[in-house]
Symmetry: C2
Subunit: 562 residues, 2 copies
């Protein structure tokens, strides 16, 4: 069934659950009124439904290929990309001085959800460019990078990539071995190999800007000795336009479980010319700018594809009859569909909540908003992609045998989504970020979030007492578990990180469902399902958090190494 | 890393947890002494490690193809199959009169686990033949089917398939439209199409026996009007040997998420000659014989491939270093590996426990054993494959980015396993069987199983009191939930079925871990991890069971149909 962009649902959550109204009340986002926002959402919906979604199967069936002249992208992708670029969708949040629209990240997040839900492989290209735009805007020096590259990236005539990973290093960014030698003219000579470079080659842009982590001569070991460089595929001529080819190339593409339409390249840089972005040895900070943005984008991908998977599963369950009864009326199928819908609401609310906090932090400079966003980002990313992938997997199950047949498309959703739990920091790393850096304020930001959950529960007591109480209790259990974690050194929190994040997401989901039911009585049934059936998982996860770390350190836990 | 058959672990569970010793004490299995059993396990291990596992990637990369002359199987599969057949592994449990070894199903289950762990695609062929052997042995009339077909199936020179599903019917077997007309000579003319026929074509056997569900003229509607026929690819000549081609063919093969090495055919029968198996209109009973056997085999597949995925993930986590520390020493990775190992023990113990109960039922005729097996079969199938698939998925996560690259092999485990949660009755159907038919004795068999869990907990109190108590409590919660279910009409149990089965499996896993820790103090660490970290999930699942069925029936739960 064709993908339908969930504009109504997004609007409902923005307005009635996530407090979008605060944004146009700020000076910075005064233009992002409800009316202009809704026009933008409708425009993105048309793009996603009419242009991007119809290309999704072709991307899977006809993967991007690497030949002697570079990449040939999947059929229709070039046209799909041009529609994204020409619609101005890449520069939605970019500074108007570079051609952007200066709109809130919240709006870009909703648009990203729809583009990703329609076509995840293709969406990766603009998503990475968006991260690069933000990084360059903050850290790029004056000159062609600002005057030429940035406007091209915003317009989508050029694209951006992120080059972190090396074969020997994996998630260990500090082990980067790529080198950068000063060339004497202000540029640098970059040499090394990078793997897993999403859209590292591309046949529908005039230039590709690679952001590359590398080490300067004599740089300190580890993450403190890493610098960030922009290494373009084509060197700028006198006007900054694409000139001679730079000394870099895509060596090969990965054969992946999913995202076949997105070429994942191994890149070789051999004395390639690069420009320093930000300070020497401060590449990690600049890169984190890009990754923070990208993390929210990946969360949106999880939600977006889960929406598509839900739509298809629901349509199938309504159409297909078994023993004379529509599948949707079989208890277990109804349970699966309700789980999908309930988790989709929870994940989308957390995602948009996080985006609003980021925008409010940017608009007001209020550290409390930034701290709130900091806590929500790893939760939005990990829960959005874990729940999103679980949803897509449930979609396969609802289809039964034909779910296992590729032509159905249900399996593609799950295959494509699988990597979102890994890239931009695995979900384990997200959880470590939550229990480590995000608790480094002594738990203040987390406690404030929990206070907010309790307040929602109190507000709901009059109308939905039986639902408010378990949410309030779960929030208090989360509060206690947070105290327990804080009493442990950070190094002893690793085994509790993922269950803690999972419980946190479940409780935030309970808050979102309560808020939704308060705003619209028609949503009370779904809230009841979530709170009675799914929220209890928080208690199971918190049991794992409370458990003594010694359980995990026990010597007999794993087989003796041979 | 190469697959290592887990013979030591299987032996430990058989002897110390699952009570294998009772089998050779019966007259029927007197030959299945510990010594002969261990020799057989070692032989199967060599086959799995040296012959089958090395073919597993080739099956994925070079799928079986259908051409004008039939199927070309994946490279090496013909040789691998011959090694299985010539080793006598197909007829392990078959009657010695047909060339079988007459050994317990428990032993075949352990061997199936190893063969499936090494190569799931190839293992499907002997597994289906095993089910057919049992069906023919019980229901086939005298003549060439017993005298010629059965010995060939046992020897593996012929293979067997199961033809249930039709495109319009899915899991709704009662909707079968394939017809059977009496030919007047005792045979029948079978006409219809069947989909999802595993190994429906094959290039390494002399004949293929298709068991086909079809309707006789004037048969009652629904499942009471279905008969079972054996329809051979080649008709028997005067001696029963393969003669003229029968009027059937494979129309096409499915492009599937996994199991690429296993050809899944759509079969067309056009006045094909078939032989009635069992009574007219009693095909379901005969088919269930085959499916019951196959369900246990599928459970073994889940466990087997999960073992392979665990081995690979553990090896990777030991080899790979990140930030100077081996992955296995990162808390979250250790959590994932411990979860895999703990669930593997639980799933394997339930599997072997179920097999022992089936053998004891067959050997003693004691209805209590049969009732115990009846309860355990759907749990073994659903938990073995759900947990198995979850394990394989965790294996991808432990690998990080390279887990998403197909060459690693981690993704193949998950892709291959995915369908085991669907075929031989989806896991939702397994759960419905548990809360429906398996509770139709008023819960007696279930209560006896729960009594056994409580007894194990009591036995463990002295040595492992802190672990025994939560298992005892969880068993009592399961008992209460069972009573709640019994108070509901069967039709109102659907939404509780899957959580009930999941909780049941978790509690049985607790019992298995306690028993393992009692038998071997070295296993107490893993038992503690399981009971403290994973067993609490049972309470969350039971909350869903206890929840009023009205929650799931609420009208606002799903979006209004358009």
């Amino acid at each position: 069934m064709p993908y339908r962009a969930p504009v109504t649902e997004i609007r409902f959550l923005l307005d009635r659950v996530c407090g979008y109204g605060a944004l146009p009340a700020t000076g910075r986002f005064a233009d992002a009124t409800t009316e202009s926002r809704d026009a933008i959402l409708e425009g993105a919906a048309r793009l996603a439904e009419a242009v991007l979604a119809p290309l999704n199967r072709a991307g899977d069936l006809h993967p991007a290929r690497l030949g002697p002249r570079g990449v040939t992208s999947s059929p229709g992708f070039a046209e799909g990309y041009r529609a994204i670029a020409e619609g101005g969708w890449i520069g939605l949040t970019a500074d108007p001085r570079h051609g952007g629209m200066g709109l809130p990240l919240t709006l870009a997040t909703a648009v990203n959800e729809m583009m990703a839900g329609a076509n995840l492989s293709l969406h990766l290209s603009p998503l990475l460019t968006q991260g690069q735009i933000e990084t360059l805007d903050r850290f790029a020096p004056q000159g062609w990078l600002r005057d030429v590259a940035l406007p091209h990236l915003v317009a989508g005539t050029w694209s951006g990539t992120m080059n972190l990973t090396e074969a020997q290093a994996g998630s260990d960014v500090g082990a980067v071995a790529t080198t950068a030698e000063p060339a004497g003219d202000g540029t640098f000579r970059i040499t090394g190999r990078k793997i897993f470079i999403t859209w590292g080659e591309c046949d529908f842009v005039a230039n590709i800007c690679h952001l590359v982590l590398a080490r300067l001569p004599g740089a300190p070991a580890g993450t403190r000795g890493i610098s960030l460089f922009l290494v373009p595929k084509f060197l700028p001529d006198a006007d900054g336009n694409p000139g001679a080819a730079n000394a870099l190339r895509a060596l090969r593409l990965e054969d992946k479980l999913g995202l076949h339409g997105s070429p994942t390249a191994e890149m070789a840089f051999e004395d390639a010319t690069g420009w320093l972005i930000g300070q020497e040895n401060a590449g990690m900070a600049a890169m984190f700018t890009m990754m923070n943005n990208a993390r929210l984008g990946v969360a949106a991908q999880g939600v977006g594809v889960a929406e598509a998977a839900f739509q298809q599963a629901l349509a199938h369950a309504r159409e297909r009859r078994q023993n004379g009864v529509a599948l949707v009326d079989h208890g277990d199928v109804r349970r699966m569909l309700a789980t999908m819908r309930a988790d989709l609401l929870a994940a989308r609310a957390i995602l948009l909540d996080c985006a609003v906090a980021l925008d409010m932090a940017a608009a007001t400079g209020d550290a409390a908003w930034a701290a709130r966003a900091g806590v929500l980002i790893p939760i939005a990313k990990a829960f959005g992609t874990d729940a999103g992938h679980a949803l897509a997997d449930t979609g396969i199950q609802i289809h039964g045998g034909i779910g296992y047949v590729e032509a159905t498309g249900a399996a593609q959703f799950a295959r494509d989504l699988r990597v979102t739990r890994i890239y931009e920091g695995t979900n384990g790393i997200q959880a470590m970020d939550l229990v480590g850096r995000k608790l480094s304020d002594g738990g203040e930001a987390v406690q404030r979030l929990i206070d907010g959950i309790c307040e929602t529960a109190e507000r709901a007591r009059a109308l939905h007492g039986a639902l408010a109480e378990p949410v309030w209790q779960a929030a208090e259990s989360l509060r206690e578990a947070t105290e327990i974690l804080l009493d442990r050194p950070v190094a002893a929190r690793g085994g509790a990180a993922v269950p803690y994040l999972a419980a946190f997401a479940r409780v935030l989901g309970g808050q979102a469902h309560l808020a939704a039911a308060l705003a619209d009585p028609g949503r009370a049934d779904l809230a009841a399902f979530y709170i009675r059936r799914l929220l209890p998982e928080a208690q199971a996860a918190l049991a794992a958090v409370r458990d003594d770390p010694g359980t995990l350190a026990a010597p007999g836990l794993l087989p003796a190494a041979r």
